[in-house]
Structures are given as C-alpha cells and as structure tokens.
C-alpha cells in the first residue's frame, strides 16, 4: 500500500451541485467533507420526481462510471456513499480561518436528539408522537409528527426530532425499542435563563412558557436586580426588556456585557422601540423579540440559542479549498403584496407544491386533485415570473428555470390526465434558451395542446374560497379576457439561500446586489476570495445542467488550487487492495443473523430457523447478534468473523444499501473480497404484518437466506481487472473552451496535445471585443494564448486535423495531418472535443442586398475597427431569431439577445441620442442579464415584439433599408428606416460529421455533438474518455464556454489521474468459445462498450465503458455473454431457493 499526499476539500451544500463537486473531487482522490444544513442530501431535487427533457429522474447518472465499487450504486435520491466523501447532514460552516490551501473550517452539527447509530428507522416514535405539523417534504400538503423522517426514501433513514415543535412529552423515548432518543431534559434544566422585565405579568408568563420547555428560569424586576443576579449566578441566556423605569434595557445591556461578555442577551421590545432594539444589537445583543410575544416565535428563538450553546457537534477541519454549493431558496409568494392569494386560497399552489401533488410519494400518489376540496382538476394555469423580473420588489433578475419547469409540469399534467386537463401558461417571454428547450416547448404546444398565453397576470380574483379562480388578463393585442381555473400554479423563482448572508460574512466572499454570491470575470465559479469557489445556484439561478457544469468547474478550481499549492494536507492510504485468494477453497459461509433487538425472537421460532439454515449447503456457522447495525453489535460481529475461517459472509439484517460502506470496511478488516459478502433484508418482508405463525416466519426467513447463500456459493472471487491509462490528453479545437481545458489539464501536470484546424488559436473569441459585464475579451484572448505558449506540457498543432482514431478510454491512437501535410500519430488517454461553432449565415431579411445590413458579429467588428461609429448613426435596428427557433434550426442560440443588448447599450453609451430598435420574439435575457434588459429599456432602446408568422419585412431601395412590421396593438404596419440593420443570426454547428464518425459519437439534428445526458452528464459523451465543451455541443456564452472547458477538464482528469483504472466488480465478460457472433449484444449495449473486432473475429468489451447493466447477458441466448456476479447458475439457484416451496 502506498501512502499518497493529497488534499481535502470542504463542500458546503449537498444538493445537485454539491454532490457533483464532491464526487468529482472524490473520484480524483481528494478527501471531501460534504455538509448540508438540512438533515438529508439532495437539496431541492429530493422533492422533484420528473426532470425534462426525459420527464424522468436521473440523478443516479452522476454516480461514478469507473471505479464504481468506491461508491454506492443505487438511487442517489436515497443516499450517497463514496469512500473519499465524509457526509455530514444537519451541519453548517460557522467559522473560517487560515488561507487558501490551508483553511481551518469550523463546522457545527445540529442535534436531532435521535442517535443515528441506534435508530433503526422503525417509526415507533412517530406513531406515539402527539404533535402534528405540516410536512416540509410535501411542501406542507401533508402533515408529519415532531419526530419524523425528513425524506421518506432516505437510506439509511433515521428519525429526527424537530426541537421547535417537540413538547417534550417523552412518549417517543418510551416507545423507542433501541433507546436511540434522548431529549436531554437534564441538559435543558442546566440551561438557566434570566428574565428581566418590570412587569410581573410578563415575567410570570415567560417563566411559565420556558419552564414548560424544560429550562430553568430566574426573574429580575429591574436593571440593577438583573446585574446583581448575574454577579451571583451563571446564566446561559438573558431576556431583557428595553423600556424599564430607572436603568433601561440598553444601559443594563452595556453593563451586563462588561460583566459577562459572552452571555447571549435577547432584547424584548414593543413596536415603538424597534429601532432601539436594532441599536442594541450593535452593542452586542444576540437578537430581539417583539411584544406581544407569540409563544411559538419565542420558543423557536430560545431553542435556537439553546442549540447553539449545547452544540456538541462542533468540529474543526483543515481543508485546502472550499466549494460553496448552497443553492437557492424558492420565492415565498405569501410575502410582499401577495396578489396571487397564495396561502389565502388553497387552490393556488407553488410549483414545488405542484410537483409534490403529482409525485408518487406525494399526498395523492399519481392523482391530480384540488388541494382545497379534493375535487377534480380540469383547468390549470401557470403564472410565470412570480418573484422574478419584478423591479418593484427589487428582483430585477430572471430565475432562468421557471419557463421550462412550467412547460414540463403542464406536459406532465396532460400526460397524467390522458390529455383531458386544460393547461395554460401565462408568461411574458417564454425563455427556452437551453439545448433542445425550444422543441420541447413546441411539442407541448403543438402535440399536447398546452396553451401559451403571452400576458402578465396582474392579480387573481375569487368569489368563494374553494371555487374556481378567475384570471383576468390582457392579450398582446390589448384585448381583455376572463377565464376561470381550478388550480393556479405559481412559477416561483430562485432566491438566494437563507444562509448566503451569514456565509458571506464567515468566508469574506462578496454577494451581488440581490444576495447571490458574486462570481468573478469570465469565471462562473470564482469568488472574491481565493480558495473558495461557487457551484450551482449559489451564484445565481441555474438549471440542473448548468449546476452540474459549474460544479465540475468549481471542483476543477479547487483541485487546481490545491495542486498549485503543492499537494495537500491529509495522508490517505491507497485504495487498491488485494484480498485473500479463496478461489480454490470450497464455499464456507458465515451466516450472521441480526435480531433487531428482540424483534426476531418475538416473531420467529429461532430453533426452527437455526435448524433449517444449518441444513443449507455451504453454511459453516450461524451467528446471532442482537443489533449488528449499531456500532457495538457490528464490532462484535467483526471479532467473531476474524476468528472464523469462512470464505463467504451472509448478513441477514435489513436493507442491503445500509451496509454498502460497512461491507467494504469489513472486507478489508477480514481480508475477504467484498464480492463474497452479501447482505439480505430479512426485516422488511418477514416482520411486516401481524405475527401469526412463528414457524412460518422462520421458513420465510430461511428462504430469503437460502437465496443469498445460493448467490454467494457460486460467486467468483477473482480480483477486479485494471486498464492501463495513457496519462495524456488530446484537445481538439483551440477556441476558448479548448484552451481552457488544455490549460487546466496541463496545470495538473499532464501532457496535452492541442489541435487547431486554423492557423491561429482563439476561435470565436476573436470576434468579441466587449461584453455586457464589462470585461475585455481581447485581454482574455491575449492572456490565454500567452499561457498556452508558455506551458511546456501543451503541444499546439495549428492547421492540423484529425484523420483517424482508434482505441478506447485509457488509450487512443489518433492520427492527425499537420500543417506540412505530414501525418503524426498521437497516443492519449482521453479526448476533449472543443471544435466550436460558427455564426450562422443568412439570406433572410435582404442580407447581402445592402452594406447597411450585417450580422451581429460583422456589426461588432465594424464598430471595433472604426468602419462604423456610433456618432455617425441615427437609428440602428436589430432583428433577433433570424432563421432560429423554427425548423430547421429550431433552437435558441442563447447569446444573441445578450449580444444585441450589449451592442445596443454600447451604442447608447457612445451616443445617447442614437435610436435603437430591437425586433424580438421572446427576449432571452435570462439570469442577471435581465438588469441590462431593464437598463436598455430605461435608456430608450425600443424593444418591439414580433410574431413568427408576421415577421418584419425588409426591403432595399437605392441602398436605403426599410423595415415594415405589424404592430398588433395598433393593428397596423409600422415602417422603420434604419441606417444599419443588424441581424442576430445565432450560432450554427460546425461541420462535425467527420469527427463524429471518427470518434463514434452522435450529432443531433442541428449538427451539435450529443452528450451522454443533457442534465446529469452535460459534458460527457456516451463513450467514456471523450468529452465535449464549448459551442461544439450547443450555443453558449463566453463564460459558459469557459465553464464547460473547465468541466470537461475535470471529467478528463478523473481518468488521467490514474496510471490504471478498474471499472468495478460487476462487468460483462465473454466466453469466446461459445460466442456465435450474432452481435445482438452490440446492439443491446446502451453504453457502446461492445464492438466486433473484424481481425480476430471476436466481440470485445471495453471494461471501463461497461456499466454492468447486463443487457448483453440478457440477449445472449447461450451464456456466451455473462455478467460477473450475476452468472446463470447464481441466478438459477437463487430463483430455485426462492421457489422451493412452490414447485
């Protein structure tokens, strides 16, 4: 075993982006601490079952594809295990010291009062808990108890106690069969509170409430009395009235702080003295409470302070870098003016509530019903931009995701109701700016009948609380309509996470105007502080795909930093382990039966069980443990196993997923391959239902164990095979995405061959001269090229192209034709395709008929080189979506609205008198770009919306350009005669067909490369080891191209880092002597891992690409194709054991 020095990283937030960043870093070899303030992982996605475009879940696709045995391989919404990730839920970052490369982070874990090591998740506590409160998991649509499961499907799933809501009745403590619950009443008794108020009635009622919560309470009637009490006794908290005769609260506060500087003091104030209370906070008060007290608020506050104080879980951790992936908070439509009656009318729900309503694990599994009265839903309206694009509420940004999720939800509603439900989406601009979004939207409208109504609904009206909701709206033509709906869904936007402010203070990272973390320059993941990086919605509204890309990028940044600092801080042992060879031994199985406390003895005839299990083949010994899932029981089992000479272990306990990590540890402890350790669940099936026949139960359990034994008996124990990795990368394309990827890979010490087909590096970046955010693309270009040229690990081939490529992940042989016409064959382990895209050409709108008509790139170039000057122009017109968002180029190019805005604002800045008209269909100023959209309108840029079936008509007479367009409000044609007409033609794919064929990957109908999965694996190709970035894959902005370049580099480094890699235990194999070469397995393999070698006449399996799904083994009729760990014999005998009583 080799000890390697490598760093560790703290990832704050375990939603999609946090998990992605943590997995990337863990796969690379870093130790990762992944924390989340919630008591579970998964973030928002734990609540969402369906994601477009597949309208399925797919989170598990983020799990490792190589070295799979290092991690869990089951539903990621249920839980996550990776040997390099320490997961700590209910934990926050509360302090940070040190410097980049060597941070000391303080983490605080909230107490749940249920010991996870003891809790078996049986639910006896919740059965007896008398408290009923709304369940957050179902967005308040169902209820839960004070002791509850935060997410019903977690594995392992431990109950937690909501301290705020718990009444300390103690019923759960009595009910818990494992003694896992400790309400810590004694510790509460030790928590002494001093209540200071001149009014007796206030003092008395406070004392009563707090004593009921289990705290010790003393009282003082004045400032001096309080100070005297402080001198006499130690207190943990003081509640202090502001308005008291004599010495007032503020004065008492000052003196008390001198006496006891660390004592938390909460000010009590009436409305009139709120300002004083705020002042008091500056003097050291912890918080303030408003009179009259609401007991709930009071107890909540006291409880929070109490928890802060008794935090036992506070730990200090040294890490090299930090990734902030704190996500977002959904806008609360009940706040503010609440024009949509949220919370007042039960049939107005948020989008998250709607997702829960249609979820299989929601309140009415799979059925659409009105929350108000359970009635039928026939008409649903979605209202867009709730909380977003709202200047009045200072939310002048677009949340980016709501348009698409509304379309998805409308489609799901249609599907659930077999098309019967009428669905209407009320929107301002339908922002379909992502890959394939436009066609997804069009399908909703054209095939499924979802209605799209362009109108911002002002407010809702309703006559009675349960009945239909009336929506009055004005259509684009200015006509007023009224329509009634059964259900209104509010498309609530993404707001900054609740803890963003606090984290900004702790980390010193800046927030932007709206409270999101501010990213820097052309990077979407850098903060104002070195060593701390952003992933996902922490830096602004993001969809899943963007979150994943930026999480990859943040992981890369963290890795680059640690690498740059010369390695890291933690000593870790190598993960490659060789186990004892038992292949020559007869199977001898140690059977460990967990009694789950007394449950097994209560329900099962143990003697009968022992007799029948002992009679099964290969059983060496049957061991009974009372609770092997808890630490003590487990350690005892390990001791027993160490003394046994068994070569198989069957653990009969509960859910096998619970044992993923433990089984791996056990394998190392007893030197036995984890493949020979099997866990079967005897708890769920055997203990459910009323106990009637203890002998029958014994038989049922025996059958389950016999199945596990059958699998183990035939299990192979050969070691997992490794593939050698050539630790060099080939990057195709020298634009910004390719250069970024090349630099990142080289920065980790690996050689890069960078192949560019033109004579110079830079690509499309050469066409950009200014940006909306103010950074200089010219400078970025110069700096990036300089870095490439200086880096000795990067070999640039200009005017070169790929001719052929053979091989697979780990070793490709790619032949390029160089500038001099000579061929050269390059050996590399991974490939990054960054071949870019092009500004589309057009013949529409009279392009080519006048020098005054030009594309957006041409316009920018002419402004840049002085051919055109803003002063010389009176009126500039721009037309958006030229040949775009309709077939055959039915996609949004994502950057054109930004480009138009950028150039419009540039013109306005240089010549405020200039007139600018932008003709658009839906203005795609997603994210914070919305602010510039507003700015442009404020500066007088005219935004003129046109219909796709009534496009502007451009004519040229004597060199003069005229545009005629229909104004639907006036219902007549408008004539515009600009000095310059700028056409936003968008981005088209380059000629990728040849490369796609050479590397055996697919192009979409628009000619862009197809990623493995648009949401969860956005830069991976379906072929492991081959990655995409930049415009080659889809249109995207400069910063986004940089991010995908970084993401592709991170994905590539995960492979390059290793001298050799293993896929996992479960991979497909071929028994060549039996193979008839029918090639069914090749077409069945969804991962492209199989191929026919024409020379040898054999089918080959690329082990690193094989994901062990078994489709090949299923289609092969004679067992020539087999799956390790799932051999025919194992399956037969398992079935045989399961059915032995039936046949």
């Amino acid at each position: 075993m080799i000890n390697k020095k490598i760093g560790s990283v703290l990832v704050v937030g375990a939603g999609i982006s946090g998990i992605r960043a943590a997995l990337d870093l863990a796969e690379f070899g870093y130790q990762v601490m992944l924390i989340d303030k919630a008591p579970h992982i998964g973030g928002t996605l734990t609540q969402l079952d369906y994601q477009f475009p597949s309208d399925h879940c797919g989170m598990c696709k983020m799990l490792p594809l190589v070295e799979r045995d290092a991690s869990s391989q089951y539903c990621l919404r249920k839980g996550l295990f990776h040997r390099n990730i320490s997961l700590s839920p209910a934990t926050s970052l509360v302090g940070l010291e040190g410097e980049p490369g060597n941070f000391q982070a303080t983490l605080s874990t909230r107490q749940t009062l249920v010991d996870p090591a003891k809790c078996s998740g049986c639910g006896a506590c919740a059965d007896v808990c008398p408290v009923v409160v709304p369940d957050e998991f179902n967005a308040g649509l169902t209820n839960r108890k004070a002791v509850y499961l935060p997410v019903p499907h977690n594995i392992p799933n431990h109950y937690v106690i909501d301290g705020d809501k718990c009444t300390l009745c103690g019923a759960c403590v009595q009910a818990c069969p494992t003694g896992a619950i400790d309400l810590q009443l004694a510790r509460r008794k030790e928590f002494r509170i001093l209540v200071v108020d001149d009014e007796l009635i206030v003092r008395d009622s406070l004392k009563e409430w707090l004593a009921e919560e289990g705290f010790s309470v003393d009282m003082a009637e004045s400032g001096p009395a309080a100070l005297a009490a402080l001198a006499r006794n130690e207190y943990n908290l003081m509640l202090l009235d502001i308005k008291m005769p004599g010495m007032d609260g503020v004065e008492t506060l000052k003196q008390a702080k001198e006496l006891k500087p660390n004592l938390p003091i909460v000010m009590m104030t009436a409305y009139a003295t709120v300002e004083t209370a705020v002042e008091a906070m500056k003097l050291g008060a912890s918080d303030y409470l408003m009179k009259p007290f609401d007991p709930d608020t009071l107890v909540h506050l006291i409880f929070r302070l109490y928890q802060d104080l008794i935090k036992t879980g506070e730990v200090k951790l040294t890490v090299g870098a930090i990734v902030l992936a704190t996500g977002f908070k959904s806008y609360d439509p009940a706040g503010g003016d609440n024009p949509y009656l949220y919370g007042l009318c039960p049939n107005v729900v948020t989008a998250v509530e709607f997702e829960r309503m249609i979820s299989g694990s929601g309140p009415h599994p799979g059925r659409l019903t009105r929350p108000g009265d359970g009635g039928e839903v026939n008409k649903i309206a979605w209202l867009q931009c709730v909380g977003s694009r709202n200047i009045r509420e200072d939310k002048n940004f677009c949340s980016s995701i709501c348009c698409m999720y509304a379309v998805k939800e409308a489609r799901l509603a249609k599907e659930l109701s077999d098309g019967k439900v009428d669905t209407a989406i009320f929107y301002m601009d339908m922002r379909t700016h992502g890959k394939n979004f436009q066609r997804y939207r069009d399908k909703a409208e054209q095939d499924l009948g979802v209605r799209f109504v362009r109108s911002r609904v002002h407010s809702l009206g309703q006559s009675d609380n349960q009945g239909p909701i009336k929506i009055s709206y004005i259509d684009p033509a200015g006509e007023k309509h009224e329509e009634e709906f059964d259900l209104v869904v509010l498309s609530t936007g993404q707001m900054p996470a609740a803890e963003a402010g606090q984290l900004a203070e702790i980390t010193g990272c800046h927030l932007n105007h709206w409270g999101f973390f501010q990213s820097q320059g052309f990077s979407l993941c850098r903060t104002s502080r070195e060593g701390i990086f952003l992933a996902g919605s922490a830096s602004g509204a993001r969809d899943i795909s963007e979150s994943v890309v930026q999480a990859n990028a943040a992981a890369l940044a963290a890795s680059s930093l640690i690498h740059g600092k010369g390695g890291g801080l933690t000593e870790v042992s190598s993960t490659k382990v060789e186990y004892r060879d038992v292949s020559k031994e007869l199977p001898k199985t140690f059977v460990a039966v967990c009694g789950c406390g007394q449950t097994l003895t209560n329900t099962v005839d143990i003697t009968a069980l022992n007799n029948s299990v002992n009679g099964l083949p290969s059983v060496e010994r049957v061991y009974h443990g009372e609770k092997i899932c808890v630490e003590e029981g487990w350690n005892e089992l390990v001791q027993e196993l160490r003394q046994s000479n068994a070569n198989r272990v069957l653990i009969a306990a509960c859910n096998p997923y619970l044992y993923t990590r433990k089984a791996q540890e056990l394998a190392r402890q007893i030197d036995l391959s984890p493949a020979l350790i099997e866990v079967v669940d005897i708890r769920t099936p055997a203990f459910s239902g009323a106990v009637t026949d203890r002998k029958q139960h014994a038989q049922n359990i025996t059958r389950l164990m016999a199945m596990g034994l059958a699998r183990l008996r035939e299990q192979e124990s050969a070691p997992v095979r490794e593939t050698h990795i050539c630790q060099k990368a080939l990057v195709l394309g020298g634009g910004i995405a390719g250069m970024t990827a090349a630099l990142a890979i080289a920065a980790h010490g690996f050689e890069v061959m960078l192949v560019e087909q033109t004579a110079e590096l830079g690509g499309n970046l050469r066409h950009l001269h200014w940006t909306l955010s103010g950074e200089s693309p010219d400078q970025l270009l110069a700096q990036t090229i300089a870095k490439i040229q200086k880096n000795p690990l990067i070999h640039v081939y200009e005017k070169a192209k790929v001719v052929t490529s053979v091989g697979h992940v780990g070793r490709y042989l790619t032949t390029i034709e160089k500038a001099d016409g000579q061929g050269e064959t390059l050996e590399h382990g991974v490939t990054v395709i960054a071949t870019g895209g092009l500004e589309a050409q057009t013949t529409s709108y009279a392009y080519g008929q006048s020098p005054a008509i030009m594309t957006q790139h041409e316009f920018e170039a002419r402004l840049h080189d002085g051919q055109l000057t803003p002063d010389s122009l009176k009126l500039v017109a721009m037309i958006q979506c030229v040949d775009s968002r309709e077939e055959p180029r039915n996609y949004c190019s994502r950057v054109c609205c930004a480009g138009a805005l950028k150039n419009a604002l540039y013109l306005k800045e240089k010549n405020p008198k200039i007139g600018v008209v932008i003709f658009y269909r839906d203005f795609m100023s997603h994210g914070f770009m919305e602010a510039q959209y507003t700015e442009a309108r404020e500066k007088g840029v005219i935004l003129f919306q046109y219909q796709v079936d009534r496009k502007p008509v451009v004519t040229v007479h004597d060199g003069r350009v005229s545009i005629t367009v229909r104004d639907i409000i006036l219902d007549r044609d408008v004539l515009v005669e600009p000095d310059a007409l700028v056409l936003s033609t968008g981005i088209r794919a380059g000629d990728n067909a040849g490369l796609a064929q050479i590397f055996q990957v697919n192009l979409d109908q628009d000619g862009f490369f197809v990623e493995a999965e648009s949401k969860w694996r956005p830069v991976d190709s379906i072929r492991e080891g081959l990655f995409f970035c930049g415009l080659a894959q889809s249109p995207r902005s400069l910063a986004e191209s940089v991010a995908t370049g970084e993401a592709a580099a991170m994905r590539a480094l995960r492979i390059l880092k290793n001298e050799s890699l293993a896929a996992g235990y479960t991979v497909a194999e071929i028994r060549q002597a039996l193979c008839s070469l029918c090639e069914k397995c090749i077409s069945a393999c969804p991962y492209g891992a199989r191929s026919l070698d024409e020379e040898t006449g054999r089918i080959n399996v690329d082990e690193l690409m094989c994901q062990g799904c078994g489709a090949c083994a299923a289609v092969c009729p004679n067992g020539a194709s087999i799956l390790r760990g799932q051999h025919d014999k194992q399956v037969f005998y398992t079935i045989d054991a399961a059915l032995q009583e039936v046949f």
């Binding site: 070469l1077 029918c1078 069914k1080």
Partner: protein, 381 residues
C-alpha cells in the same frame, strides 16, 4: 424485360423440365453452383446437393414431398464468409424465411446467393417419406402433386403430410429472387418463373425464356389453400394452448422429452454454436439433485426438460418460422412444432414482428423502444 417467363413441360414430365431449367441456369446463368434437392443414387432419399457440373442434375426434384432438414442452415454455412462466386440455392418458403432470420443474426449473407423458391404443397415427415417413396420416388412426387392439385388431399397409404405443412400459410416463396410457380395451372403443361428482385431479373434475362403471365385462377387457388391451412393452424393453436394452459399441462405435454436436444439441432434458427443446456451452466453438483429430490420427495430425471423448452421458446420463438423440423427430429413424438408456433404467434405479435418477413426488420430484442407494452404500462412510462 419480362419479369415472368414460361418453362414448357414436355411429355407430362415436369421434373425433367425443372432439371432442364437448372441445367440452363448453370450453363447460361453466370452461376457457379446450385444448391438443390436431389434423389441420391445410393439410397432412397432426397437431400440438398451442391452441384457445379451441369451433367449431375439427373436426380433433381425440388417438388419431392421430402423435407429431410431445413436447408437454411446449409446456406448459412455456404455464406458465412464472402465467397466471390454466385450460388443459386433452392429453398422452400420456410427455409427462405429461416435464412432471413439467420442473416439478421449475422449467421449468413445474402450477397453471393440467388434464392430460388418453388410453390410448396408441403412434405411428409422423414419417417413417412422413406416408407412412401419405396420403389418409385419420382412417381411418388407426381402422385402427391396430382392428388393435392385435384383436391384429393395429401393422405397416401395412411400417411398425412407433416402438421407444420398443413398449418403453413406461406405456400408461395415470396422472398425468393426467382419464384417457380405451378399453383393454378397445369403442372404437366408449363411452369412459370417469376423474378422478384433485380438479381432474379438479371439471371432470367440470360436464360432467354419466353415471357408469360400468371393465369388469373392462380390467386384463387392460393387463397383457397391458405384458407384451409389457416383453419387447420387455428385449431392447432387452440388445442395446444388448451393442453399447455398451466404448468401441469405443459409438464405433461413435454413428459416424453429425454433431453436429446434433437429439436434444437434441427431448428434452423437455433444458431448458437453450443446450446447453453450442454454447457457447464447445467452441470449441477450431484448434491444439487439430491437437494431437489429432498425438497419434493421425487423429481423426474433427467431434470431441466421443461426449463429447456421454455428457454428455447424465450430465445427463439420470435424467430420461429414454423418449418416443423423440431417435430420431425423428435424421436419421442413430442409435438414441439405445435407448441412453438402457438407461443410464437403471441411473442411475434407483441413486437409486431413476423419471423422471416424482411431482413430490414431488426430482431425484437435488439432494438430499444421507449414506449412499448402500453397495455401493461397504461401507455405511460
């Protein structure tokens, strides 16, 4: 260029005319060799022969109601690699359809062959044919066709044609390049040869035969034949489904099976180099047999007979063309064909697949359809 030509029959001797046609083919047709059934001189038997010498066609008799084996497997062997020469292969309709399946399973190639098919009135089991053809095998061929065409049925000396043939809906070899026709016309006067493909047309053009057209009665004769066979088939489906409706029924149905695996060897689409049932997967530990016996007190030996047939149904029923060679090969009279066809009807239906219909239709398990089995999923996924 004519797509249909006429082969004159002289002296009421259709077999000799057919022999003449094949001889022409070998001499003028740019064909290197012909695979064609012949009466073997040494024994009273009909077998496929591979002929390169035009003078060695005297025993040719594609009309003989003998079906010793499904020759698709023979063609598979002849086409496993590129040959560079054109072969003409004479196949029955069921043999062509089986070969189409084999091509899709990469067990054969269409590139080098010209397929010649004959209108098919069926054949007897091997056991029956060897009895019936004693003495005058060619006369037997003529008698069989005369009886069938005259509507007298196929019973000769108490022997009936094979059940597979009586249940066959495909008397016309539509997938052939060249289709030799006699249904609906007088076999003693003429035969027609129709080219279904450009390759067929090219060969016909070389033979320089007079153009002709199909007589209108032909279609009616075919329809009548197919209707009778379909009725027989449907009765067979319902009888078999009834007999095997539960596990006890199926076990009884297959009780005669001795695991000889002849049916799998005879099956034209069972293409595995080695059947999984003869590999180590079914080499059970001796203790395993005892274990099984202990569980039930009694087990039938050899074991895995029902399992074998179910597995073969799972693997091959979507490719089953109903040729009946399985039953022909069974030494213990297990009605294997009846079972396969009955199950194949359902498995092919659920995938909207018909074995042998077209090389362009991918075998069901090799394609992924996102939405299928709506009747099970409720149309949702």
């Amino acid at each position: 260029m004519a797509k249909t030509v006429k082969v004159e029959v002289k002296d009421n001797k259709p077999i000799e005319s057919i022999q003449g046609f094949f001889k022409d083919l070998l001499v003028k047709g740019d064909i290197e060799a012909i695979l064609v059934p012949q009466h073997l001189p040494m024994k009273n038997v009909v077998m496929p022969t591979l002929v390169t010498d035009p003078e060695k066609l005297d025993g040719v008799d594609p009309l003989a109601p003998a079906f010793p084996l499904n020759a698709a497997k023979v063609v598979s062997k002849l086409t496993s690699r590129a040959l560079g020469h054109k072969l003409a292969v004479t196949l029955r309709s069921c043999e062509i359809r089986a070969f189409v399946e084999l091509v899709k399973l990469k067990q054969g190639r269409l590139d080098d062959i010209l397929i010649i098919g004959f209108d098919c009135l069926g054949a007897y089991s091997n056991a029956a044919y060897s009895r019936l053809s004693q003495g005058d095998p060619r006369g037997m061929t003529i008698k069989f066709h005369e009886n069938m065409i005259a509507g007298k049925g196929g019973v000769i000396n108490g022997f009936e044609p094979a059940a597979a043939c009586r249940a066959c809906e495909y008397p016309v070899p539509e997938n052939a390049d060249l289709q030799v026709e006699f249904l609906g016309m007088d076999i003693n006067q003429q035969l027609l040869v129709k080219a279904n493909t450009p390759a067929g047309e090219a060969v016909l053009a070389r033979l320089d035969l007079p153009a002709a057209s199909e007589p209108p009665e032909r279609q009616k004769v075919i329809e009548k034949l197919v209707a009778a066979r379909t009725a027989f088939r449907d009765q067979m489906f319902s009888d078999t489904a009834q007999a095997t409706k539960d596990l006890a029924g199926l076990t009884g149905y297959l009780a005669n099976c001795v695991n000889c695996y002849n049916c799998r060897v005879a099956c034209p689409v069972c293409y595995c180099r080695e059947c999984v049932f003869v590999t180590d997967v079914f080499d059970h530990d001796p203790a395993q047999y005892l274990q099984w016996s202990k569980q039930k007190g009694l087990i039938k030996m050899p074991t895995d007979t029902v399992f074998y047939h179910i597995t073969r149904l799972a693997h091959m029923s979507t490719a089953c063309v109903g040729c009946g060679q399985c039953s022909n090969a069974c030494p213990n009279d297990v009605p294997v064909m009846e079972l396969f066809r009955t199950i194949a009807r359902d498995t092919q239906k659920v995938f909207d697949y018909q074995a042998g219909r077209s090389v362009d239709e991918a075998p069901p398990l090799s394609i992924f359809r996102e939405k299928e089995f709506a009747e099970l999923t409720g149309g949702k996924d």
